[in-house]
Amino acid sequence: MSICDLKVGESATIDFLSGEEKLIKRLLSLGCTQGTEILLKNTAPLGDPIVVNLRGFSLAIRKKDAKGIFVK
């Protein structure tokens, strides 16, 4: 499942990334590597973008881009 399927406050481990090449490279350089623990911290009031937390920092990302972050 993707990170968008988590509930706010739930965490999971990153399995793999899928999507546009540029996006994936940026996510990887920010530490979204396989096995990394990632938490769905918050969502924007209208539901999009979402806020995730990993490796000690928080990152806002649009749902359409976050759909490619697959977790288990």
């Binding site: 540029k22 940026r26 990887l28 209208l46 000690g56 920092f57 928080s58 990152l59 806002a60």
Partner: protein, 588 residues
């Protein structure tokens, strides 16, 4: 001369450290061929420090990363000063590992050591230094702790070279992070303190489904009131009185015995032109202070987050929101702050839409006409103009998005840093950073254009004359037909609008010269209320001022500058036309 390159992630305090190290010995320019700011400074005379943009990696295709990579590969750099956020070390070290590929000695600066400590993070600095083979120094830049020691280290030279084996070239992201985790496991002792507790609590409010937009609007309300009612405007009024009493009268006295044309050139031309713009400095600085506070405290990232959905409809991202807000003060620094946007197309589109955010300079025109024609309803009239600008920005954005700026949407990624109370000195520095762009334009372009306008309004082919028979009046008469369908077609208004090209505030000044000083009572002889409103709409939308045109040219080239002028003229004409002519039909 030792050349040092300053690198680090965004939000780590790089600018603060750069300022502490170089003091006022700074020079700001552009990297060749790109809209990326180049900042250089000198440390105690013998070290040149080059500030590179805040980046997360060296290979993800952005202009900032390309420029940094090119510079590090150039062979000019003797040492890299890599600033990392001690409270956020893992991700910060990714860049460090990327930097090690360049075979240049690295001095690692652990900034925000105090925040790390408060979050219960304790590092074995010596071990980390040995594992990475770099010199490490802990610093709290906001309190200037450690800065002197850093300067000592840089001056001593003799740097440890990081990464003796260049194996890091072959590692991919996942492998680098594994290596980082391994290293941190050996040097980091975490105590059980809950990290960023306050930030969490604030975000729960600020991003709450029901409270976030009211809070956001309230904050904007506070800033606009601070700017226009409580601090900015009163100071501006004070400035105006001060200028009139000291500078204008003073200059007139000094020049009493010189020829009248010279006195007029100095007082009315130069001082008058520049002065009418300078009195806006308090208002603009107030707005920038508010925006800088929001940026430095960390709230801006949240604002970009909640505005993203709306900005996307305009073809932009939430990040474009900040430049737009700055545009309500002055478009010039707003267009320059659009550099932070990721793609060239985003930057261009933002730059085109910023002038529709009614800037400060138009306010005196609005205020004059609103009180002359709509007494008692001034706020509504003025607010309607601001709103019209915003609505049109959406519409034009949608149109441009579908046509000229058609592209795939850029991914939106923004870090939400922990909230912090901005340091007073840094706040002032950031405010001034934005304001000085405005001031520089006033001193240069507006100064020269003031002289030109002065000349055109005081001379014609037979020598010095008054404004009614001047060259400017002839020019005005030439273009008047253009304005007749809009309800305000006479040469006086045309001339005023031309003078507005210099700076929008000047429109009022010019009208004062042409129509006489008691404008509020004179104007109703030349406009009916509908024509007055149509005129205000035209002022809202038409060609930006010379300073902005020059900025557009510098940032995006001649084509963009010309396009911006043209589309705004067309837009202004069409909307004014619709308002005046449809309005007239209704009034029959």
């Amino acid at each position: 001369m030792i050349i040092a390159a300053l690198l680090g992630n965004p939000n780590v305090g790089k600018t603060t450290i750069f300022n502490s190290l170089t003091g006022s010995n700074q020079y700001v320019g552009n990297w060749a061929g790109v809209t990326v700011e180049k900042k250089e400074g000198f440390i105690k005379g013998n070290i040149k420090l080059v500030d590179l943009p805040g980046i997360y990696a060296m290979d993800t295709y952005s202009n900032e990363e390309k420029v940094s990579k090119k510079f590090l590969e150039s062979g000019e750099v003797d040492v890299i000063v890599n600033i990392v956020d001690a409270s956020n070390l893992a991700r910060n070290l990714y860049l460090t590992f990327q930097l090690m590929q360049f075979n240049i000695p690295i001095v690692l600066v652990l900034n925000m050591a105090d925040v790390a400590k408060n979050n219960g993070l304790i590092f074995d600095i010596d071990k980390l230094s040995k594992l990475l083979n770099v010199s490490i120094i802990e610093v709290v830049a906001s309190k200037k702790n450690g800065i002197d020691k850093l300067i000592e280290i840089l001056q001593k030279g003799n740097f440890l070279k990081g990464a003796i084996d260049n194996d890091y070239h072959s590692l991919n992201e996942a492998e680098v992070y594994l290596k980082i985790e391994g290293i941190l496991g050996k040097v980091l002792k975490k105590s059980d303190v809950r990290i960023n507790f306050i930030t969490e609590k604030i975000d729960n409010l600020v991003l709450n489904k029901y409270l976030s937009y009211p809070i956001f609007l309230f904050i904007i309300f506070l800033i606009f009131n601070f700017t226009f009612s409580w601090v900015g405007k009163p100071l501006s009024t004070l400035f105006t009185y001060g200028m009139n009493i000291f500078i204008f009268k003073g200059a007139e006295n000094l020049l009493k015995s010189s020829s009248p044309w010279f006195s007029s050139l100095i007082v009315k031309g130069m001082l008058g032109g520049v002065g009418s713009v300078i009195v806006f400095l308090p208002i603009i600085l107030s707005l920038f202070l508010g925006v800088s506070f929001l940026e430095d405290s960390g709230y801006m990232a949240r604002a970009a987050l909640i505005m993203d959905k709306f900005m996307r409809k305009m073809g932009l991202s939430g990040k474009a929101f900040i430049p737009m807000m700055v545009g309500f003060g002055c478009s010039v620094p707003a267009v320059m702050s659009a550099r932070t946007l990721e793609s060239e197309k985003d930057r261009k589109l933002t730059a085109l839409l910023i002038p529709l955010m009614s800037c400060n300079a138009r306010l005196p025109v609005y205020a004059l006409f609103a009180s002359a024609f709509f007494p008692g309803y001034e706020s509504y009239i003025i607010l309607s103009l601001y709103a019209l600008g915003i609505v049109l920005a959406f519409i034009i954005g949608i149109i441009f998005k579908g046509t000229l700026f058609k592209k795939q949407e850029e991914p939106f990624l923004i870090e939400l840093p922990p909230y912090k109370l901005p340091g007073f000195k840094n706040l002032l520095l950031h405010t001034w950073d934005k304001g000085k762009g405005f001031l520089k334009k006033a001193g240069t372009i507006i100064f020269s254009v003031s002289v030109i306008v002065w000349f055109l309004s005081n001379f014609n082919f037979s020598g010095m004359t008054d404004i009614n028979s001047s060259l400017l009046a002839s020019l005005g008469k030439l273009i008047t037909p253009f304005f007749i369908p809009l309800g305000f077609g006479n040469w006086q208004n045309s001339v005023s609008l031309i003078s507005g090209l210099m700076a929008k505030e000047v429109i009022v000044g010019t009208m004062g010269v042409i129509y006489g000083s008691n404008l509020a009572s004179v104007l109703p002889n030349f406009f009916n209320p509908l024509a007055a409103y149509s005129f205000l709409v035209f002022v809202l939308l038409y060609t930006p001022c010379i300073s902005l045109i020059a900025t557009m040219k510098k940032e995006y080239g001649n084509k963009m500058a010309i396009f911006s002028v043209a589309y705004q003229l067309v837009l202004a004409w069409i909307v004014s036309f619709l308002i005046y002519d449809i309005g007239t039909l209704f009034m029959r």
